[in-house]
Symmetry: C2
Subunit: 277 residues, 2 copies
């Protein structure tokens, strides 16, 4: 693992690191914020999964998360959104290929064998972080924005016991229910829809739910509302009687101005779960 | 004036606007954050001047200022750092030309007649903001980063009564005392050093000082320390017995991770001055 940069930040360190990923079969870059408390021993960690076109960097510089994480003594992990590099397949559309991994293990060419963001975020990167930094594997939580909100919700519901809490900012909530989402699921996973359900937050909520608290914020003026389909997830949450807070925020759109506005709420929410019991 | 974007942000609005500038003789773009209180009447304003290579956008997205400004009911102005466009002179160095206006009125070709950032920030843009938005001209404060810290300090000391308080993050403090700074001052202002003194924070501190509180933070690990020359300004402040808080922050560098870490302190500092008496 190679250190690309380390900057003092809110009493802790915002680092950027690169490593050879076995899951993605290429070099991967990630950001990690460690609060001051990490000098004295393992700290809880909040995963932040980013949206389409983002790298590890967007949330690190624009979400305003480190100050609140420092206040709570929580680490923040910022993975990239896809494998990258010359040897990795890509597509001219913004919503397919590099920058658009959708947190799945692709079974279809040309996305297989590199596009394994599910394994990368669920297995490889957590193991690397726990091995290399003062991270407490037993106290993890997860959040994300847009495609990253989709990743956070589907990972949390598919890996019971892994994350104590899950939240999302304007998550892609029901890709199976939108022509736009069906395009990506079929590109990465093929036409057998049985493989799609675990990657649809609304379907997972119907079948499984989450054993812990959920917080979701979506801007009521989000310009991508038709693609996000928040109504499908809201309905599934209500049907399941899932412990959840689901908020539509008047006036807000899909931007990081929205994300940063509600970041304090989300980190406070996760801190309660990470420090509980 | 043309609205380029408006995003809901911390209960207020982060806008980006473009207008034809008479000072710079080209179109200029600026950011303006208005807190919710601006719906009910004029609010105080804090000017944030950016550093080399920045546009109006860097601090707007990376400094984490809007949340604290919203808490205090203060507007934030984010001007660009130079005139721009095809008809505007430029230079291959990062520290001259577009993105490097140094908050002076250039008298030398090819920078004259466009490079009049002093008049733009001191006169034209404040008049436009007060005319077009709910901004209270009697309650202004100013801050900035690096070249913008230089701009904030020199504007504040040259315009007594204009700003109630001034602060700076890692300001360029004594360009006359560094070969690097002398290059820019001579390029923009010519070889007559009499014209330089008003654009040197340490020289202005020696000759004039500031009638109000000053807060300065510089990272002790700042990679540009030789260019910033904080020691010259610290000495001038001490000689004058100027009301000031001057802090060297251990471990911090020149980045926005440093700026965002101390933004709460700076906005709280300005709020005390803006809401005093």
């Amino acid at each position: 693992m190679e250190t690309l940069s380390e900057n003092a930040c809110f009493g802790g360190v915002q680092g950027v690191y690169r490593h050879a990923s076995s899951a993605c079969k290429c070099d991967m870059t990630f950001g990690l914020f460690l609060p001051a408390e990490a000098k004295d021993g393992p700290v809880p960690i909040l995963w932040y999964l980013s949206g389409l076109t983002c790298t590890h960097e967007n949330a690190m510089t624009k979400a305003g998360a480190q100050g609140w994480a420092a206040e709570q003594g929580i680490a923040l992990a910022f993975p990239d959104t896809s494998p990258r590099g010359d040897g990795v397949a890509d597509h001219e559309d913004y919503d397919l290929g590099q920058g658009a991994g959708f947190y799945v293990n692709a079974t279809q060419k040309p996305w297989a064998p590199h596009f394994n963001m599910w394994d990368y975020v669920a297995e490889e990167l957590p193991a690397l972080l726990v091995e290399s930094f003062a991270i407490d594997a037993d106290r993890q939580a997860i959040t994300g924005h847009s495609m990253g909100g989709h990743g956070a919700l589907t990972l949390a519901m598919n890996l019971p016991g892994r994350y104590r809490s899950v939240s999302a900012f304007s998550p892609i909530s029901n890709p199976i229910g939108a022509e736009w989402g069906r395009k990506q699921l079929s590109a990465y996973l093929g036409d057998d829809e049985a493989a799609w359900a675990k990657h649809d937050a609304s379907a997972m909520m119907k079948s499984t739910g989450f054993n812990g608290p959920i917080l979701i914020d979506t801007g009521a003026n989000d310009q991508f509302m038709d693609l996000l389909r928040p109504e499908a997830l809201a309905q599934a949450i209500a049907e399941r009687r899932q412990q959840a807070t689901y908020r539509l925020q008047p006036g807000y759109d899909h931007s990081y101005y929205f994300v940063s506005t509600f970041m304090e709420d989300h980190i406070t929410f996760h801190a309660e779960a990470l420090y509980g019991e």
